[in-house]
Symmetry: C2
Subunit: 207 residues, 2 copies
Amino acid sequence: MIYLLIGMKSETAAQLGRPRAFDPDVALDRAMHVFWAKGYEGASLSNLTRAMRINRPSLYAAFGNKEQLFGKVLDRYISGPLAWFGKALAAPKARNVVEQIFLGTGQMAEEAGTPAGCLLVQGALACGNASARKEVAARRTAAEAALRRRLQRAKREGDLPKNADPAELAHYVMTVVRGMAVQSAGGASRAQLHRVAQIALRAWPKG
Amino acid sequence: MIYLLIGMKSETAAQLGRPRAFDPDVALDRAMHVFWAKGYEGASLSNLTRAMRINRPSLYAAFGNKEQLFGKVLDRYISGPLAWFGKALAAPKARNVVEQIFLGTGQMAEEAGTPAGCLLVQGALACGNASARKEVAARRTAAEAALRRRLQRAKREGDLPKNADPAELAHYVMTVVRGMAVQSAGGASRAQLHRVAQIALRAWPKG
DNA sequence: TTCGTTTTGTATCGTTTGGTGTAAAACGCT
DNA sequence: AGCGTTTTACACCAAACGATACAAAACGAA
């Protein structure tokens, strides 16, 4: 019961006790940058609290522990810096969907003030903490599943050739996207990623 | 002077003092698996020494420290599990080179007894230790440069269309390869990766 | 056997890790 | 003002981290 209330940003609920001196969403954004740049294990609690500008007990009271904080960060990452992905899925034609996904991936590389690469790739690809590893893997899987469903719909609508396999194409697109994330983390420029995307599109079935 | 002698497996050198009870190469292979599966920070010294079956002081005497051990592991990884890459570069035609690179990447996914994915991607993509991060990035860059040089040669030999850009193609191929490594770490099967490789090859310039 | 040298095993170093106990501070309510 | 409640700041915890000191053990040479 109490747990269900946590996180409800109810405007009407009367405030009880000393009010928070920080905005949880702002703190989450700051934590996101640390996890993004350093990975789950590379981000220490000292790193996190310093960046979030809160004390340890405040972090634990507001977000549970490091694992749970990471989970909330992943959610915020998907609904924030990765929100363009959902919009890309809404493009009219399958080819446009893929183009916008490649485009969005490339644009993330030039986003000022954010670490290069993708949190879902760098966060905990290889990690001693199995829970964190599974969390990012699950989110990567979910993204691919969403694209697959979109391409399956496209095929039903005659937007893809009959011999095209939506699942394989989705797997291919997400493979390129994740490769781009690795390249970006390694210092690849937006222009380089853009050229990669153009070449990758040549593999798209004609029709 | 003394430093130059370290690592020389001289058969003639007279042995001085108590002989090693372990094979450094075998120990490196065991350390490789730990770094490969858990990443640089996820691999603790206790994990490493347990897997290598040596004590801490033996590790430090033979390999310096954790960072230097990681560097030696990367070298051994490239000359071992990644040796197929160099052979692929020796294929007669540019298209064969790329085919073999994709094939090799896919085969690594089904290699029994080795972690899924690529050490150069999982080792320290995002990592609090900047040195480790740079080490893997440098090796990734070197691999891409080798492929680029091979494709440049191919173009000089008329093995690639005049409008093809070897650097862009190399960047594309390595992007797909690294994406495949991420997918593999996430549980993708050899068959799935093979289909991705087939689609990726459709982007290859005809000629 | 004794000496010089190197490795081995144990025990430990100081630091950092993720995580809390506690009391003062800051609010709404009466 | 005083009470109940929640957050804050400071201190601290046990455990794990990377890295060593030290003495016994195991060799070749003398």
